[in-house]
Subunit: 395 residues, 2 copies
Amino acid sequence: VEPAGALEEHAIAVRGGAIEALLPASEASGRYADLERVELPHHLVIPGLVNAHASAATGLAGGDATLLACAEMLAGGITCFADSYLSPESALEAAHAAGIRAAHGILAAEHPSAYASDFDDYLRKGLALRDRTREDPLASFFLAPLAADALSDAQLRHVAALAAELDLPVHLRLHETPGEIERCVARHGVRPIERLEKLGLLGPNLAAVHGVHLAPREIELLARHGCSVVHCPSSDLGLARGFAPVAAIVQAGVNLALGTASAEACPRLDLFQEMRTAALLARAAARDAVALPAGAALSAATLGSARALGLEKSIGSIARGKCADLVAIDMRAPGLLPPGDPLPRIVHAAGRENVSQVWVSGRLVFAEGKLQNPPLGTLDTRRGLWENSKARAGS
Amino acid sequence: VEPAGALEEHAIAVRGGAIEALLPASEASGRYADLERVELPHHLVIPGLVNAHASAATGLAGGDATLLACAEMLAGGITCFADSYLSPESALEAAHAAGIRAAHGILAAEHPSAYASDFDDYLRKGLALRDRTREDPLASFFLAPLAADALSDAQLRHVAALAAELDLPVHLRLHETPGEIERCVARHGVRPIERLEKLGLLGPNLAAVHGVHLAPREIELLARHGCSVVHCPSSDLGLARGFAPVAAIVQAGVNLALGTASAEACPRLDLFQEMRTAALLARAAARDAVALPAGAALSAATLGSARALGLEKSIGSIARGKCADLVAIDMRAPGLLPPGDPLPRIVHAAGRENVSQVWVSGRLVFAEGKLQNPPLGTLDTRRGLWENSKARAGS
């Protein structure tokens, strides 16, 4: 779904962390005189960006890394991210502390790690964490089989059954490399997507992460089953994976989401960058200079990513009843002047340096270059975390 | 040439706008006690970025647009840009006012415009401007045939002769599209690069802008003649031009420069973006995840671009005798922590939001989020130019 386009002179009424109304500013002061007023002349307010695939903690152990990643993302207008790294507990703790919404992967893997001993143990720990976290309005969950080709048919059927029973999204890296596809053909006689279809995994809950090497009939299959594709353009480029057929994916009606993927391939957790790269790359890959319009790129980074996380009813757009996850962009920067059609400006000219305020569920978490949320305190995102991080690393 | 890598605890002594020494900080306070001292703990200082192909004014008429473009570039660590738009006079005036170094295109075209009536008139006006500007230490010039396929052999020979006589670089869009190549083959029986070779244009002064569709033997030809290629990755992607063979270009020893190109294709004048996109795209195009190392990308955006403008003796690196065009990057941002190998961080994680100070010839032009240079005044780059721009647009 394309965003409706920008409304001028409008107000967003927020109560209890939710959007109560979107209305002309002239009507708002009368109808909502009881609410605190934040005036944003020359700003554009967009839905909080949703990073549908991040391994926030890769590269550094545990919570400190995730806290830095949360700080980086909030300051860049990302109000929700999906994490599937090997320490959901510390990711959850860091996200909670930072005040960012997060979807956590309930891991499913066979290989023993410091986190879990085998397939059942991974699932048990993830589901237990989900049970303990029912009270946290910023936390949600999805099933995250780490490598489908390391799991048996029975294990993947179990994941499908769990997803159906608990209505959880399933995120897995799919058709990312030719090698992954060849191994699956050698072992199972079919390509990974066909295997997942046979095992009952294709459906609106399934998000194919990366989806670089997709044949036209496979894109049709994903569309028919209502699946999502989480496109990670910087990561795909950086790891030389190939060029995802994004124009064809969107054209077929598959839900497109965006992610920054792993820190090795893409150390910058920046969805402005991913929107722009996705839009540019879609044109280059399709040899079509209008392949992915700016509106579609913004939609992928907001509602599309929200849908891939099963959160499309609560976030991803500025609509009555949804959480007030909002990002204000100051349109007075030299690179955004003169005023004009806002969507191409947001995608092709704006960057996270233009983010002036960020709210998560109506709570101000970033303003004036500083995170507003303890324990990140009012630390300057450009200056302040250094000492803090050194202190933590040394503690 | 790869940058030497980062030096720790070093000082740069600057006198009269030039770099007098690069030395350990412990020695500097004694030897240069007479100089004003700027301490930059936790910062990395890089050479000012050089935008080797920008049409700063496209999209808006005249000097106001160029002034906004200069403001955007300075705030993003770009201390020099090459402009080849249809109003060198107003570009020169804006660059001078903003305090940014600029190389101006002496246009060579046949089609009449508001600027000039024919080929001779274009050259005459450009050369006259160059003569009038000999006193401006921030201005330099290059020859800019706007479309080689619209010029006759005699005209291009004249450009070559002028370049040799005045030792001026020649920048032209070359092998950007298959259509350009086909038209040249149909008209002249050879591909554009071969045509330029016959006409005596290939040499160290020639910079092939874009260079997307290059056969291996053409890359060899460019290398043999010491030419430069100005790579414009965002523009090439956005216009669906194809994928420049950047890894092969660098491998062959061709000097690589970077540019943002036209505002239509790439409205963001951001060389951090272009460095990162170039590095990522080179890997993807070459199917090689180590194709363009971070050091090579930074080198292209600094010394490589300086060389393409004939300015490699005065800018592009931090070396004794060169102009003090310097950019300080605050490495304490969440996305740049924890400290580690700086080159990959600069190219893959940093952005213009991390630029804390910018100097052009030793003069501070950007600090604390604000341009420091009248007539841009101490305007906040994120906030202040709006009113100013409105006032100018209305005047």
